[in-house]
């Protein structure tokens, strides 16, 4: 799947109401997600550059793997 833009960044966003603290996102994208003591995800607010392909791939796996579909990838247009 090609991408028109390689510049810009993305952010992993969690819907805290849907999230039930399964923790799959932390296992699939440990560089983007850590968990708090109750098992809920802490996602760092700094955008990740789209050029970082491995991070984007991990993010995609996390979005797909979330049992509650609580994650989304938000594309940001300005360069990270």
């Amino acid at each position: 799947m090609g991408m028109r833009r390689r510049s810009g960044g993305f952010l992993l966003r969690v819907n805290p109401i849907l999230c039930d603290g399964f923790g799959h996102c932390h296992e699939l994208a440990p560089e983007l997600v850590t968990t708090d003591e109750w098992g809920y995800p802490i996602i760092s607010p700094t955008p990740v550059p789209l050029a970082n392909m491995s991070a984007l791939e991990s993010a995609r796996y996390a979005v797909r793997g979330c049992p509650r579909q609580a994650l989304r990838i938000e594309r940001l247009s300005e360069p990270a």
Binding site: G21, F22, H26, E27, D36, W38, G39
Partner: protein, 258 residues
């Protein structure tokens, strides 16, 4: 034209048994995922992925099972009888049960394919049908099968039923309190001392009550309205608004009808 061969029959029976065993595995894995097993040796996401992958394999075996039954003209089960119950002239009831199970499984499968697009609540509602589908599969295996009523066949079907029954029990008993619970991978997972707070939904009310306030010398019953201008003019008359009812201590939890 008649198309028949004993191999259709062998394939139907074999794929049926394999599908049953695989679905047993699928349900067991699903229970492990729901009860949040894993995180240290095996990743939770791995169990989830296994659950998804095995279910695809099981569906393939199920399709072959149905196709070979339908294609075999030795028994008159048309394609329609795989979807609509009670339309088969051969073993009407057992095939009907199988059809019901298949329909339920189809709905689970399609909803999972569209999981990203539909509301998570709807997906979860449909996903519960999996248990029903498995029950139908056990009944179908027991009633339809020619060799599942004795010997190794019976033991196999019985074992599958037993495993899923145990899984169902554990699913209920071992369910996490309102989700979460600690994930083994949390950097704060090692209990850092401090009270393990009882989750707000716990049954004992005592821990959650705020301490009852002692009576303060400032009577809080009335709300008075005073109108004062900020300039140093004499203060306007204090208008008392009369006794206002205090906010009741126990907000009602009655069901609401709009």
């Amino acid at each position: 034209m008649a198309l028949t061969s004993p191999y259709f029959w062998y394939t139907t029976r074999a794929t049926g048994i394999v599908a049953l065993v695989l679905f047993t595995l699928v349900v067991s894995l699903g229970t492990l995922v729901a009860n949040r097993i894993g995180g240290t040796i095996v990743g939770r996401f791995e169990l989830n992925e296994l659950h998804r992958s095995v279910s695809i394999v099981a569906m393939v075996f199920l399709f072959i099972h149905i196709l070979t039954t339908v294609a075999d003209s030795y028994v008159s089960t048309g394609l329609i009888s795989a979807f609509i119950p009670m339309t088969s002239s051969f073993k009407r009831m057992p095939v009907a049960i199988g059809a019901v199970g298949f329909d339920l499984l189809l709905s689970v499968w399609v909803s999972s394919l569209l999981k990203v697009r539909i509301a998570n609540r709807s997906w979860r509602f449909i996903h519960w049908f999996g248990w029903l589908a498995f029950t139908a599969a056990i009944a179908h295996a027991f009633l339809t099968g020619t060799d599942t009523r004795s010997g190794a066949g019976l033991v196999l079907v019985g074992a599958c039923a037993g495993v899923v029954l145990a899984a169902a029990l554990w699913r209920y008993v071992g369910r996490p309190a309102r989700a979460a619970g600690r994930t083994a991978l949390s950097p704060l997972a090692a209990a850092k001392g401090g009270a393990v707070l009882e989750y707000p939904h716990s049954s004992s009310p005592a821990a959650r009550l705020a301490p009852r306030s002692t009576v303060s010398p400032f009577p809080a019953a009335d709300v008075s309205i005073t109108e004062r201008s900020p300039s140093p003019s004499p203060p306007a008359a204090r208008a008392s608004s009369g006794p206002f009812p205090r906010r009741p201590q126990a907000p009602s939890a009655r069901r609401v009808r709009r």
